[in-house]
């Protein structure tokens, strides 16, 4: 071994031990997301102290659940080097068909079974995505654009287009079931719903799969370079089925929670919010080209978008500005990540 080069490597690693923000950001891009999130919270809290009230925080928590579940699914696919835009259609399909089914045929179905069926149903639709991506050898963007139209078209043509305003009682009850309940200063009751728990649990499971199982490492391996991963013995078919099935399961679950939380099932709902979710994942530091990112970053990205959406009103900025602000943030964050990488 060339001693000088060995020493260089050793020096390099020694330097890395010294703390530097630049290096932290390069290795953990979600630091930027966290800084942005904290900065916004501080600015908004100064501009309008009402922000720090428990009711606002509970609102943010409640609003993050559906988007967060979607985002975890998108993240796992992005980590594997793919992309999915059909998850909202999967969610809409499962939630509406299941609501119709329960209402018309199985009114007594317990809520736990409903949640399970939604998850499994979503997973099955996701597996269709996975099989198509694997066997057609077509980029997943194209496949999932196709299946988004397909799932949604099937839903609207064959299942129904009627807006269901009165849900089966057990679903409505689940949406209202409190996890935490307290009275605010002005006497109103504030409820953190029970379904909020689903997000941290799903985040933990996703983190565990990605970091503690071979499947998780294989997902990142495929995201690094699918050809090489296959050459090294990773089974790409299993991986495709797993990631799209998993994202589908999360989407199915998110769909049914969306219904329970809003106490209505609108078949035209959800589809169209894909870009918002993908934006959250990218803001959380995952590269759109795959192979990187963390669950923590994804959750921070979701919180960032939810906070922007809910606080602009508090500081007196019209809600029509949301998109503008989110757009600026995405560009700023992207520019920041890229320049950091170039300097290295």
């Amino acid at each position: 071994m060339n001693t000088s080069r060995l020493e260089e490597l050793k020096q390099g690693t020694a330097e890395r031990r010294v703390f530097s923000l630049a290096d932290l950001v390069r290795r953990r891009p979600e630091t930027i997301t966290a800084i942005l999130l904290v900065a916004i919270c501080i600015i908004v809290a100064i501009a309008n102290p009402a922000f720090l009230q428990p009711s606002t925080l509970v609102d943010i928590g409640r609003a993050s659940v559906v988007m967060g579940l979607f985002a975890l699914g998108v993240f796992i696919i992005l980590a594997a080097g793919g992309i999915d835009v059909s998850f909202t259609a999967i969610a809409a399909f499962t939630m509406y068909s299941l609501t119709v089914l329960v209402q018309n045929h199985l009114p007594g179905l317990p809520i736990a079974v409903i949640l399970l069926v939604a998850t499994v149903g979503g997973a099955l639709l996701g597996v269709i995505n996975g099989l198509l991506v694997h066997h057609l050898k077509v980029p997943s963007l194209i496949v999932t654009i196709g299946t988004q139209y397909l799932f949604r078209g099937f839903l609207l043509s064959f299942i129904g287009t009627v807006w269901i305003m009165s849900l089966p009682p057990q679903m409505g009850a689940f949406g209202r079931l409190p996890l935490l309940q307290f009275e605010s200063a002005n006497g109103a009751t504030i409820t953190l719903p029970f379904y909020f728990l689903v997000l941290p649990i799903a985040a933990f499971i996703t983190w565990w799969i990605l970091n503690r199982t071979l499947m998780g490492r294989a997902i990142f391996a495929m995201g690094g370079n699918a050809n090489i991963a296959s050459r090294l013995g990773y089974d790409l078919k299993k991986l495709h089925i797993f990631i799209f099935g998993y994202a589908g399961a999360l989407a199915g679950l998110a769909g049914i929670i969306h219904v329970c939380a809003n106490r209505q099932a609108n078949p035209f709902d959800l589809v169209g919010t894909e870009i918002n979710v993908i934006a959250a994942v990218v803001l959380g530091g995952a590269k759109i080209t795959g192979g990187t990112g963390t669950v923590l970053g994804t959750i921070l990205g979701v919180l960032l978008i939810v906070v922007i959406n809910s606080v602009l009103v508090l500081v007196g900025i019209p809600s029509t500005w949301q998109r503008l602000v989110v757009g600026v943030f995405i560009l700023l964050a992207a520019a920041f990540f890229v320049t950091r990488q170039r300097k290295k």
Binding site: R5, K10, T13, R17, G216, T292
Partner: protein
């Protein structure tokens, strides 16, 4: 007696290929290959580009299936293997592209596969981080890389190329390998690192592991020893102990024609200085002076960190110099970007032609005219295709490209022909000075010959050439003078006609030894 020797042979026999055939569409890539690999032996698979070497490796590692024939692996007969079957039988491959996952850490790249393979490729299992750390530490120490926590957690895309090559080798030996296949493992290693690799190979053989090298570097084959296997046109044309063959014989077997290993350089430089550099310094280069005559070929060598690469990039504007003057044809010139160098007639053929030089999915024609688009286009920016085609045809002729079809994508050509396209492109600007960086890296003997002849023809036209290379015989055969760099400076100068490889090698290392003492 013969019974015992037979059983011995049978017990050490690991892998056997019997009459393996492979067609790619209408191309008959392998025409009945028979090959036996015994444990504890070293094999050198030699042959020109396109002779079927890579195909055989891919069949052994399970990446592709043969069209006909049998694979006998530890007495089990297969008609084709999957990657997991091959890996769990102990066949590890270090591919030429290294097959590292750029976004994962060093430890994961080295040792994750061991866990995948030991579970027969099943993915629904826990990932053992402790075992990952232990396995990778051991393997990294064997190849001479650091094995501390910081290095283990370095992302592979942050590593220099030579370290990546060693990481790929570490992965191959991290498992209980029985056969390690290395596809040109030494292309980006310096002599020292090659020496280290040879020691690793020696240790593997003592542990009864078979090693199969695919290489173009005959010198290294002789240093490692063992058996040589020569392929030509998808057939095995020779097989046996390497001592039984001379270099010239092997080269003839590979190409099917006699190759002259004598000096290519017969002409003398012309009179008059063409190019000079005074007090040039750049990152990694300290106050260099040198001068070059018209039609002179100057070789520059040194270890990878000697500053030779940085010097080449400084005078061609790739990574501009900080200080110093550059004179070309008696006029002082400023070179801040590659475009400046091109304007002055200085061309640079980079070492990594795939990443830095060629547009692989574009045609030969488009690649050849890439530098002269402005010259070929009229004032509305429309390119004169006819003139371009004529130029491309002339350049291909001059570089003796083995195809007349200029619409062929460059990616479909062999390494040697790709290199000729790249050099041909620079001829389109009618260069005064060409800087060639490792002109024959990854190129077979037959193509080397044509490239060397082309280089000599350029010099005879009065073009000055600087060849930056690791390949010492290449410099000795082609150059007028050879400069040896070390620590960013020229430490020795040799007349290429008189010098020996040994002298050059010693000069490359001298100041290193001094600082070490």
């Amino acid at each position: 007696m013969s019974a015992t020797s037979n059983t011995q042979e049978a017990s050490s026999r690991f892998l056997e290929l019997c009459n393996i055939q492979k067609w790619f569409g209408g191309v008959h890539a392998l025409r009945g290959i028979d090959l036996t690999i015994n444990l504890g032996q070293a094999y050198h698979l030699l042959g020109e580009n396109g002779c079927g070497k890579s195909t055989v490796i891919k069949i052994m590692s399970g990446a592709i299936s043969p069209s006909a024939g049998e694979i006998i692996l530890e007495s089990k007969i297969y008609s084709a293997m999957t990657p997991i079957q091959s890996l769990s039988a102990g066949i590890e491959t270090v591919y030429q592209d290294l097959s590292l996952l750029p976004n994962l850490t060093v430890a994961e790249n080295v040792a994750l596969n061991e866990q995948l393979v030991s579970g027969q490729g099943r993915l629904g299992r826990l990932f053992d981080r402790k075992r990952l750390k232990e396995t990778s530490e051991k393997a990294l120490a064997t190849v001479g890389l650091p094995s501390d926590g910081a290095f283990l957690n370095t992302i592979v895309s942050d590593l220099p190329l030579a370290a990546r090559q060693l990481v790929a080798i570490a992965r191959a030996i991290a498992t209980r390998a029985k056969l390690v296949i290395m596809d040109e493992p030494t292309t980006s290693l310096t002599r020292r690192e090659v020496d280290n690799l040879i020691r690793v190979v020696e240790r593997l053989r003592q542990e009864n592991v078979a090693v199969l090298f695919v290489t173009h570097k005959l010198d290294e084959c002789y240093r490692i020893g063992g058996n040589v296997v020569v392929f030509r046109d998808g057939q095995c044309v020779a097989q046996g102990p390497i001592e039984d063959y001379t270099k010239t014989q092997i080269a003839e077997l590979m190409t099917g024609r006699a190759i002259d290993s004598a000096r290519y350089r017969t002409a003398k430089p012309l009179d008059g200085e063409l190019f000079s550099v005074k007090g040039l310094s750049a990152a990694g280069v300290e106050t260099m002076d040198l001068s070059l005559r018209k039609g002179e070929i100057l070789g520059i060598t040194g270890l990878a960190d000697s500053g030779r690469n940085e010097f080449a990039m400084a005078i061609t504007g790739v990574a501009p110099a900080r200080a110093g003057t550059i004179t070309l044809d008696g006029r002082q010139v400023t070179i801040r970007r590659p475009a400046d160098a091109i304007d002055h007639g200085i061309g640079y053929v980079p070492e990594d032609r795939l990443a830095e030089g060629l547009f692989l999915d574009k045609s030969i024609f488009e690649n050849e005219i890439a530098l002269i688009l402005t010259r070929l286009s009229n004032r509305f920016g429309i390119i004169d295709k006819q003139a371009g085609r004529e130029t491309a045809a002339r350049l291909s002729e001059e570089m003796r490209l083995n195809t007349k079809n200029l619409d062929l994508p460059v990616g479909a050509l062999s390494g040697g022909n790709q290199q000729r396209v790249l050099i041909g492109r620079w001829l389109s600007i009618a260069p005064k000075l060409l800087v060639l960086h490792g002109p024959t890296v990854g190129v077979d003997v037959g193509s080397k010959d044509t490239i060397y002849r082309a280089i000599q023809a350029l010099a005879e036209r009065g073009i000055g050439l600087i060849i930056v290379s690791d390949d010492l015989p290449e410099l000795l055969q082609n150059a007028d003078r050879i400069l040896v760099m070390n620590g960013g400076k020229v430490v020795a100068e040799f007349d290429a006609e008189q010098a020996t490889e040994d002298q050059l090698y010693r000069a490359m290392l001298t100041s290193k030894l001094e600082t070490a003492q």
